[in-house]
Amino acid sequence: MTQAPLFRPVAEHGLLVEFGDRLEEATHAAVLRLDQALAADPFPGFAEAIPAYVNLLVRFDPLVTDHVRVAAHLQALLRQPAGAAQAGALRTVDVVYDGPDLAEVAALSGLTTGQVIATHLSGAYRVALYGFAPGYAYLSGLPDPIRLPRKEAAIRGVPAGSVIIAAGQCIVTTLTMPTGWWIIGHSPTPILDPNGPRPFLFDVGDRVQFRQVTA
């Protein structure tokens, strides 16, 4: 069960609603519920809301409203009965399992590389949030046997389209960026197309299934 959230004034233009400090499914669900309720019923001066795993950042114009009034509005939303959770669309993402870290992931997990691939394919993933950079959809649901902490140091210049895992999460990268996550493969599926009619393949809440391809 999630405890009552804490309201933290983190900037003069922002209030962070913190539902917990541990990565848990119920906590994240509470974040998304408040995000949806706020989208349906914003307050005067509302700018935008950014969901993360355990907290929701609510940005506003402090010349129109203030932290106390924003918190009161959010409290009222939290008292509303929870709507039915939406199932989310199912998206299929192709993966070529040729990542430079595949062997090390196998060694650290006590598995063969074939077992790492099978385990990764078996996961029921959900788009938990976007973060870090455009199109970086954090997928929750990485199976336990390949759950590893981040690497000690980040690697620079990891190409766009890399399939990376760490801390129970998976991301298909959309830009060439540094990462401290484990690179297990790459995906030919386009995730981000900022100039197209639909800039992002995923919506938060979508389910994702990986499919192995060879090239």
């Binding site: 233009h13 962070l16 940005r59 976007y130 455009p134 981040r150």
Partner: protein, 322 residues
């Protein structure tokens, strides 16, 4: 109506007041690093304050105009020259077809805003003309300008006037960056917190539109704790969270990074606090190696500073008769 780019300078991009509303998808605000100067330059040439301008970093471009227009340069002291003759900063001046605008060496600050009457009329992407180079989004083809680019101009009624020195905003020496201690302030020891404000930091060479890194201060000492599930192993790690603009991360506890207009929207580093909005413009005018201090303020002081900045903009409008 167009501006032709003869040479691009070091990194010149099209910017306006940014692209709010997409941060939850990882797309940051972008827009001018020094929004005060961007607004001032637009006011001088008679544009809407949020019209698209050119943001030049450290070094000016060379531009050629195909039509008559009015130009103003505000922000960092990057001295304009029209066909080789000096022109003032913070003042509107006319250009004729065929005129060439070049710049002398940067005297102070870091970024100059070059406004042209009518505004730079590149296509609007996700509600803004700002360039977000990391995401190849907006601006001119999603990138910094190159020689040979031709930028369309909108139609406008040229303004005129000048902004006197007492109405401009520039960082002090050392720059004083006011901040609200944040969510994870309790994670460092009281002595480390005191030292953080006592130290004079220097802008690191890794200072750009994504974030400004500072070095030369004392490494932070953390209060010991057991890391929560889902967070990385370094005491500066947290469960991935969203980062407000202006938030200060200290990866590994050594060098603070203030996230700026092209911020990454979230990640797994704790935020020590948040630089107040009124002082984000000043960061945009800091050169590498320039000194800066962090100054603790309360929420009331932060809001008062925001009102002060609004008043400073109102003073500009009133001075220019807008």
């Amino acid at each position: 109506m167009a501006v032709n780019v003869i040479s691009p300078g070091l990194s010149t991009t099209v910017q306006d007041l940014g692209r709010p509303g997409y941060y939850h998808l990882g797309i940051p605000l972008s827009g001018g690093m020094d929004r005060f100067a961007l607004r001032a330059a637009n006011m001088l040439v008679g544009n809407d304050e949020g019209a698209a301008v050119l943001e030049a970093v450290f070094m000016g471009p060379e531009l050629e105009f195909t039509e008559a227009a009015t130009v103003a340069v505000a922000g960092g002291e990057l001295p304009p020259k029209l066909n080789g003759d000096d022109r003032p900063t913070w003042e509107a001046f006319p250009v004729k077809p065929g005129d060439r605008l070049t710049f002398g060496f940067l005297k102070s600050g870091a970024r100059a805003y070059i406004a042209v009457s009518g505004g730079i009329d590149v296509p609007v992407k996700l509600g803004s003309r700002s360039t977000y180079t990391l995401g190849a989004l907006g601006g001119h083809e999603g990138r910094a300008l190159k020689a040979g680019d031709s930028l369309p101009l909108g139609k406008g009624i040229p303004g005129k006037g000048a902004i006197p020195a007492n109405l401009r905003r520039q960082p002090g020496n050392p720059a004083e960056l006011r901040m609200l201690p944040g969510l994870y302030w309790h994670r460092i020891t009281a002595a480390a917190g005191k030292q953080f404000f006592a130290d004079t930091w220097k802008v690191a060479p890794e200072a750009d539109r994504i974030g400004y890194r500072f070095k030369g201060g004392t490494a932070l000492e953390f209060v010991p704790r057991e890391q929560p599930f889902g967070a990385g192993s370094n005491p500066s790690n947290i469960v991935d969270a969203c980062y407000p603009y202006g938030s200060i991360q200290v990866p590994g506890g050594t060098e603070p990074i203030v996230l700026h207009r092209d911020a990454v929207s979230g990640g797994g580093y704790m935020m020590l606090g948040c630089v107040i909005s009124a002082d984000m413009d000043l960061i945009g005018q800091l050169q590498p190696h320039s000194p800066a201090r962090f100054v603790e303020v309360t929420m009331d002081q932060a809001l008062a500073a925001r009102h002060d900045r609004q008043a400073a903009l109102a003073a500009l409008r009133s001075h220019l008769g807008r």
